[in-house]
Amino acid sequence: MSTEAIHADHDHHHAPSGIGRWLFSTNHKDIGTMYLIFSLVMLFLGGASAMMLRAELFTPGLQILDPDTYNNLLTNHALIMVFGVVMPAAAGMANWMIPMMIGAPDMALPRLNNLSFWILPFAAIMLIISMIAPYFPGGGTPINTGWTLYPPLSVQVGMGMDFAIFTVHLLGISSILAAINIITTIVNMRAPGMTYFKLPLFVWSWLLTALLLIMIMPVLAGGVTMLLFDRHFGTAFFDAAGGGDPVLFQHLFWFFGHPEVYVLLLPSIGILGMVVPTFSRKPLFAYKPLVYSMMMLTALGMVVWAHHQYTVGMSEAVTTYFMIGTILISIPVGYMLFSFIFTMWRGAMTFETPMLFAVAIVLMFSFAGVTGVMLAVVPADLQYHDTYFVVAHFHYALIPGSLFGIYAGVFYWLPKWTGHMYNETHGKIFFWWTTISFNLTFFVQHFSGLAGMPRRIVDYSPIFAEFNMISSIGAFSFGASHLLFLYIIIKTVKGGEKASDKPWEGAQVGTPGLEWTLPSPPPFHSFTTPPAIK
């Protein structure tokens, strides 16, 4: 990514050399690259923990993990995947793309941007400490609560929980600072003429995501702070004997946790809004209503959190409200999916890797939507609650809904980032390999869940043996497919066919963003003066 030759006129625009370029960076592309690399490393860490869980579940009985270690790994798998993989990957893409899309030189607050990134590796270290601390003398019980950290269990476990609480604080600081930066960039740094309704959909999706982050991360931080007080200072927030309420924590957690789902989802929707028009060679169908439906999703997402808690004994009026609110969410989500389908309708479609992922997302995320509506219905949920049906539902929501969206984005923008085309055959093999093994892993979990297999449990009844064996085989295959992903990325970064400024036959139509007006790879500082918008 050497760019000295292009912008040698101004010493300000040289890429600094050596390790300092990365450690002290104020450059949105370098910071974006670091986010993406961090996310890739964490993907393998979170994936490795999932592999261990699936190995344990391969057959009934206890084989390789004791129950506490299983629960500890389960907690860390979730925390790593949510906070370490999807959010940093989406933030990395926001860093790379938003300034280029809107014609800005960089993020609005470049130093703050670097702080948001550098907190993450330290948070990851603290998370790993939280996982291994219990195995040292005086460490107490491992964190066996799952990522929801519900009291009273989370008040009782060992010092690993304190590290986990502060990991959440660190991640919260990082996300809030990144969100502040992204909103400020979008509002303040748009080139003249780049009006709100000319913004590429990806920029819109991040504007709303960042708003959500500013509203929800402080709530999670407040909740875990109260947990810390209950653990060490004798307060009674989550203890009914002292007048508190463990359900209060659940409300705080899910007030964060449900909008968090949209934090994970929206950037992917934004990427779809870029990928689908390109490979359909048609402008995005109903761009403005799509933006409005994202706003509706954001607003509704804030007020439906308690559908995660139907079984804790809330009154009928409350559960009814949350049920109706949750079902209403299918309106904006359905609208988005239809927009993408109508964009494809009668388009001159081609199926390069990003488009394959996009089509798969529309199909498989719809499936998660259907099981989501099932789970939203109170009487039905009482049956499905805490079974593998829920596990299958949210993995269908999060793997196609956010991870595949990120893969689509990676393949879509790799030529822009690196200046090289990836190998299309490898990309397609990766797509089919992941998609088939993903479905193999999680589709059967719907059945084992409906048959009553509880989630978050190390051992299970032998009647579920076949389902789990299929699931584990799929999971190993899914895990292995990512070695190919890594290989494709390394190979593309190192070399390959030269990418033009506008790859894919220059098919970026509609509201594609200004990144395609720049060379591939773009210069170290994208725009030094505001570009003209037609």
């Binding site: 603290m126 502040i180 400020t184 407040g222 004798g234 002292g242 409300h251």
Partner: protein, 291 residues
């Protein structure tokens, strides 16, 4: 606000502060965990983190001030700072809303339920005969707690503190008004008065806490009333402290003539923060002390 041209974008040079900042926060929190778990090294690591934090703020903000004084910033940078501060305060609003929300939930849902209301009628099963009144000085089960003798009323120190904090908002506006007229003498006077009021507030709050602990048995361990009382007032007090330190920095800069009527983002950012802390106190006074 500034008159510098917007034609060229401004990007700061690479900076070592973000990396130092991340390492600092990590060290501080790592120390806190060790301290909470009674490790000898804990307080020392915490102290190192806190010292590093002070060094960080001095260095980072020092750089920003230098860049500002050398005239590197244009109007766009100024609005980025303003918008950034606005969204930061928004996130702080949600942080406090969390705690106010908890208070609402506990008072209107949890405690009435514990007292036997609602279709679950929990108390009939667990704690027969326990009735709910706010503040709940008597707990359903006080085995792990020390019940408070009385609740904190709205008169006396809290009332004085309300008057003091509201006045400090007024004196800060006085300073702002002076700044807009480029009257540096009154600016310094207004800021100094505001800081003085902030410090008095802080001292009175400490006296009140001492009184609550020593004579009323109202502590963190007196069940949900003590928990919410100290959570809300404590986090507010922490924000007052941070705000007062920021005001002191602004006072120092004002005495060095750093501000002019058209370039004083730092002053305004701190003023917004202080007014935000003011508004939180009004909420606190009404919902924690009074009702």
């Amino acid at each position: 606000m500034t008159t510098t041209s917007n034609d060229d974008y401004y990007i700061p040079e690479p900076s070592r502060w973000p990396l130092i900042g991340a390492a600092t926060v990590f060290t501080l929190l790592f120390g806190v965990v060790l301290w909470l778990n009674s490790w000898v090294a804990g307080p020392w690591i915490m102290l190192a983190g806190a010292a590093s934090l002070a060094f960080l703020f001095k260095g980072w903000f020092g750089d920003v001030i230098k860049e500002n004084l050398s005239g590197s910033y244009n109007g766009q940078v100024d609005s980025s700072f303003r918008q950034g501060m606005f969204w930061f305060i928004t996130s702080e609003v949600f942080f406090f809303l969390t705690f106010f929300g908890c208070l609402y939930y506990l008072r209107n849902i949890t405690l009435p339920y514990l007292g036997g209301e609602g279709y679950l009628a929990t108390s009939n099963i667990l704690w027969e005969g326990w009735t709910y009144t706010w503040p709940p000085l008597q707990l359903p089960d006080a085995t792990n707690y020390v019940e408070a003798k009385e609740a904190m009323g709205p008169g006396g120190i809290p009332l004085w503190n309300t008057i003091i904090l509201l006045s400090s908002g007024g004196t800060l506006t006085w300073a702002h008004w002076a700044l807009k007229k480029d009257d540096n003498k009154q600016l310094v006077l207004g800021l100094a008065t505001t800081i003085l009021l902030g410090v008095i507030f802080f001292i009175l709050q400490a006296v009140e806490y001492g009184h609550a602990y020593a004579e009323m048995d109202l502590t963190l361990e007196s069940g949900i009333y003590g928990s919410t009382f100290y959570l809300l007032t404590g986090f507010h007090g922490f924000h007052v402290t941070v705000g007062a330190i920021m005001l002191m920095v602004i006072l120092g800069r004002a005495m060095k003539n750093h501000f002019s009527s058209h370039n004083h983002f730092a002053f305004e950012a701190v003023a917004w923060y202080w007014h935000f802390v003011d508004v939180v106190w009004i909420g606190l006074y009404i919902l924690v002390y009074w009702l």
